[in-house]
């Protein structure tokens, strides 16, 4: 009696960087066989995340996730990477989870399995499975903890002698030190410093001192493997406010280019960017609560409308890339982008701005293939209060925005930081 050999599941490459695609192939199924392909990942916080798609094998008994169409599951359609970006916490998990890698030097281990049928597969044994590694660092990338001159951050250096162009990487109001985007930028040839400027365990909001950022920028600029006049800044959310402020109002920091994701440009008062995350909500009581979820978007609109002080972006002299999602529920970032462009137009510098608006994407536009969360837990900085914040976005368009914007960020940075743009007049 012949013992059936189960189908063969292969994922290539089995070890990849997190912004690289993989091909998932199942072979040796019976023809026309309904199967479920499922991904499972246990985060560093021990939560389980999963995604799955429903497929039917062809006459040769194969299913190719890159070529075939998912008929149901956490994603549908032809989606090579749906098994990653459509991940969400398994049923019964804690609420409001967000997936962010803390240890950037170890890979994510994702199990991809194939099951028979289109029903609930969680109690079934898989027909076959494979293990995939997703890395934030490439071999040879150096990770250096920075604690000099009072600056706290992590520097990632690409392999090789350099010299390299560099990036200052600023995250948002959640605070702490998120390294994963800087690590990826180093894999792509940019020395990158992820800067901690809002300590997550501060009980009182600290004033944000321009000097701190100047020192950080100087640390990058003076690194022996960095080219001093090819340093850019990338920021998301509150980090955009910092990025724009540094480029516009800080005389010693002259970035070669800036990338602003989910734009915010309103300051708490004319002269400082202090205590913004806490002050604004108190001042403007237009925060909505929708079924226990905090929505800041309308407050942001009110801030814009009343002409609250904002960064003088008209002083910015370098190319800027503005990336926003139209379904951003945390801040009216698209309206902010329009306001920035209006100001730049008035200053005659509209040609410096490239604007990317992504329909139905939310606030947290992160490196590609990371899961989307419409709402997630958020610790208001400087308080111990945890709320469920609505970030917005619909999963598939948000995933597209992440994939597309990352490609465009890399080509923008390559153009301005690697290329040697000539002084051709854009008249």
């Amino acid at each position: 009696m012949s013992q059936a050999v189960p189908p063969l599941l292969s994922v290539r490459p089995s070890r990849a960087l997190v912004d690289e695609k993989f091909s998932v192939l199942v072979e040796n199924l019976p023809p026309g066989c309904p199967v479920t392909i499922r991904s499972l990942y246990q985060s560093e916080d021990k939560d389980f995340w999963e995604a799955y798609g429903h497929y039917v094998s062809n006459h040769k008994g194969t299913v190719s996730v890159s070529e075939d169409i998912s008929l149901g599951g956490t994603y549908t359609g032809k989606e090579a990477m749906g098994l990653l970006w459509s991940m969400r916490p398994i049923p019964g998990s804690r609420k409001g989870l967000r997936l962010r890698k803390k240890d950037t030097c170890a890979p994510m281990l994702v199990t991809i399995s194939v099951y028979s049928g289109h029903g609930d597969v969680r109690d079934q044994a898989p027909l076959a499975s494979a293990l995939v590694e997703r890395w934030h660092v490439a071999p040879g990338v150096q990770r250096i903890e920075i604690t000099e001159k009072g600056v706290r951050g992590t520097l990632f250096l690409p392999p090789g002698p350099g010299p390299f162009p560099a990036m200052l990487d600023l995250w948002g109001g959640g605070g702490g030190l998120q390294e994963y985007r800087a690590a990826l930028l180093a894999c792509r040839g940019f020395a990158s410093l992820a800067l901690e400027y809002l300590k997550s365990n501060d009980t009182k909001p600290k004033g944000l001192d321009m000097k701190y950022f100047e020192t950080a920028f100087e640390i990058i600029r003076s690194h022996p493997q960095v080219i001093p006049d090819r340093v850019g800044i990338i920021g998301l959310c509150f980090g955009t406010l910092m990025t724009l402020s540094l480029a516009a109002e800080c005389p010693t920091i002259k970035p070669r280019c800036i990338v602003c994701i989910s734009n915010i440009h309103s300051k708490s008062n004319e002269n400082t960017i202090q205590e913004f995350p806490q002050e604004i909500p108190e001042k403007y009581n237009k925060i909505h609560m929708m079924e226990d979820v905090v929505v800041w978007r309308d407050m942001g609109l009110a801030v814009l409308e009343v002409g609250h002080p904002k960064v003088k972006v008209g002083n910015i002299d370098c190319p800027m890339l503005l990336i926003n999602g139209t379904d951003d529920q945390n801040w009216p970032t698209v309206e902010v982008a329009s306001d920035i462009i209006k100001t730049m137009r008035e200053a005659g510098k509209e040609s410096l701005v490239t604007r990317l608006d992504y329909p139905d994407a939310g606030h947290l536009i992160e490196p590609p293939f990371s899961p989307h969360f419409r709402a997630a837990n958020f610790m208001l900085h400087g308080t111990k209060k945890k709320v469920m914040m609505l970030w917005g976005g619909k999963t598939k368009p948000h995933a597209d925005a992440q994939e597309d914007s990352w490609k465009k960020i890399l080509s923008f940075l390559q153009l301005h930081l690697y290329g040697a743009p000539s002084l051709k007049a854009n008249l």
């Binding site: 012949s2 013992q3 050999v5 189960p6 063969l8 292969s10 490459p13 089995s14 070890r15 990849a16 960087l17 690289e20 040796n28 019976p30 023809p31 006459h59 040769k60 008994g61 199990t111 399995s113 044994a125 898989p126 027909l127 076959a128 499975s129 494979a130 293990l131 995939v132 590694e133 890395w135 490439a138 071999p139 040879g140 392999p159 090789g160 002698p161 350099g162 010299p163 390299f164 162009p165 040839g189 080219i227 001093p228 006049d229 090819r230 002299d317 370098c318 190319p319 200053a347 005659g348 510098k349 410096l352 390559q414 690697y418 290329g419 040697a420 743009p421 002084l423 854009n426 008249l427």
Partner: protein, 443 residues
């Protein structure tokens, strides 16, 4: 025209220092039998450069290769499409930097690259150097670099040392529930326990058991003779069939050099029913005489081939009987420049024997001009000759394996692909509609 626009244009400064060119390898972590694309950009246009690859073996020896390229008018080049105009290889060779590696000048003689520890990767440093240079000439200017990892094991593959029932070997099991088709994997008379082919098979979905039979500390008797008999190989095959993760009727055998003889011999033993056989550059006869050290004391650089030819003529009747009994598909891989075994003659012998027995449909020959004895997994460097320890160790001799780098590399790449296809065909039968229909009708 307005003043503000001029100001904006002037603001785009030209840097006084240019960034280093960008050198990339994609993907940067691969299995040893996978390709990686090496590209460079942001070079000056039509500019001569050298790409150099360096890595250390498990023993600490430095292996390296280099090739000369010219960037195109856009300042880029791509090993997938551009031509090397000099160095360790020439022409369009996407993986040339890997297979053309040789020991660096000053390293020990007679080296052969074999991975001892399959759980760690080879770390290959790939550099871009200014101009068409040799990496060992001073001074060289490094423009950029990238580090690639080459792995012999995919994530999730399990490695188990097997020391039971007298068996000495290592078992590799793919991830997943199984049951898996499997291969019994044997190497040549150099002895020891090379694991790297088995770990790659497991990374491709085949459980694989590499078996030691000579020259291993855990085997009985003196290390310079084979002290295990037929029952040992029967037990090894049985071990795979009995394993809970392995499909009992989907077990094949593969062997290189003397392991090839053992492959065919084991296939004819009682109770052994392999699903397929693969032999690489091996003899189809054996004699106890072969194993005595004295036989080799005359042979400094003389190839083993001539000795074996003589022995085969003496051995003929014994050999014929064995091969006739084979009942499963058999693939035989020949390096036509094999200086260690008379592979072509052996292949002819097998083909003739099977034809006479009415079994030519079982036989597949892959023949590679310019390839030597050691046809190993692809993109690995080759050694035309190396020190081969014939015990006792003091009598180490330089053995000529044969083969020339480019054709040998092509043979390794092609043979591996075809071996995997052969295994796929015989160990993982496709459940086509017609097969299911026949099955259904029978019920």
């Amino acid at each position: 025209f307005n003043l503000w626009a001029v100001r904006a244009v002037r603001a785009v400064r030209v840097s006084s220092i240019r960034p280093a060119p960008l050198l990339t390898a994609t993907p940067v972590r691969t299995l040893v039998d996978e390709q990686t694309c090496i590209k460079a950009s942001f070079l000056p246009s039509n500019h001569p450069v050298t790409v150099c690859a360096r890595m250390r073996s498990d023993e600490g020896d430095l292996w390296q290769s280099f090739a000369h390229y010219n960037s195109n008018s856009r300042g880029t080049f791509d090993l997938n499409s551009d031509l090397s105009v000099g160095g360790s290889y020439s022409g369009c060779e996407p993986m040339g930097l890997f297979w053309s590696m040789q020991p660096a000048p000053g390293e020990r003689d007679g080296l052969r690259l074999r991975k001892k520890c399959v759980e760690s990767p080879y770390t290959v440093h790939i550099s871009l150097l200014e101009g068409h240079v040799s990496p060992n000439q001073e001074p060289v200017k490094e423009l950029a670099a990238v580090t690639a990892e080459r792995w012999y094991m995919a994530p999730g593959v399990k490695r188990q040392e097997i020391r039971q029932n007298g068996l000495v070997g290592t078992l590799f099991i793919p991830p997943g529930p199984g049951p898996f088709p499997a291969m019994l994997d044997m190497w040549g008379m150099g002895g020891g326990l090379p694991e790297y082919r088995s770990s790659l098979f497991a990374s491709r979905g085949y459980a694989s058991f590499c078996l030691a039979y000579v020259g291993h500390k855990d085997l009985p008797g003196p290390p310079n003779t084979i002290n295990v008999g037929d029952s040992y190989f029967q037990a090894a095959f049985q071990f795979l069939q009995d394993h809970s993760h392995i499909a009992a009727d989907k077990v094949g055998i593969v062997g290189l050099s003397y392991g090839c003889y053992l492959t065919f011999h084991t296939a004819t033993l009682a109770g052994v029913k392999p699903a397929c056989l693969i032999g690489i550059n091996g003899p189809v006869g054996s004699s106890r005489e072969l194993l005595r050290v004295n036989a080799f004391s005359f042979m400094t650089l003389l190839s083993l081939k001539h000795i074996l030819c003589i022995l085969q003529i003496l051995m003929k009747p014994l050999v014929l009987m064995q091969l006739e009994e084979i009942t499963c598909p058999l693939m035989f891989v020949v390096g036509e420049d094999d200086m260690s075994a008379s592979s072509i003659e052996n292949a002819d012998l097998i083909e003739e024997t099977l034809r006479a027995a009415g079994k030519s449909h079982l036989f597949t020959r892959l023949s590679y001009p310019g390839a030597g004895h050691l046809i190993e997994p692809p993109y690995s460097p080759m050694s035309r000759a190396s020190f081969w320890a014939v015990k006792p160790k003091k009598r180490e001799m330089m053995t000529l394996w044969g083969g020339h780098p480019a054709p040998h590399a092509a043979a390794q790449e092609d043979a591996w692909k075809k071996m995997l296809e052969f295994m796929e065909l015989n160990l993982r039968p496709k459940l086509t509609a017609s097969v299911l229909h026949v099955k259904a009708k029978r019920q």
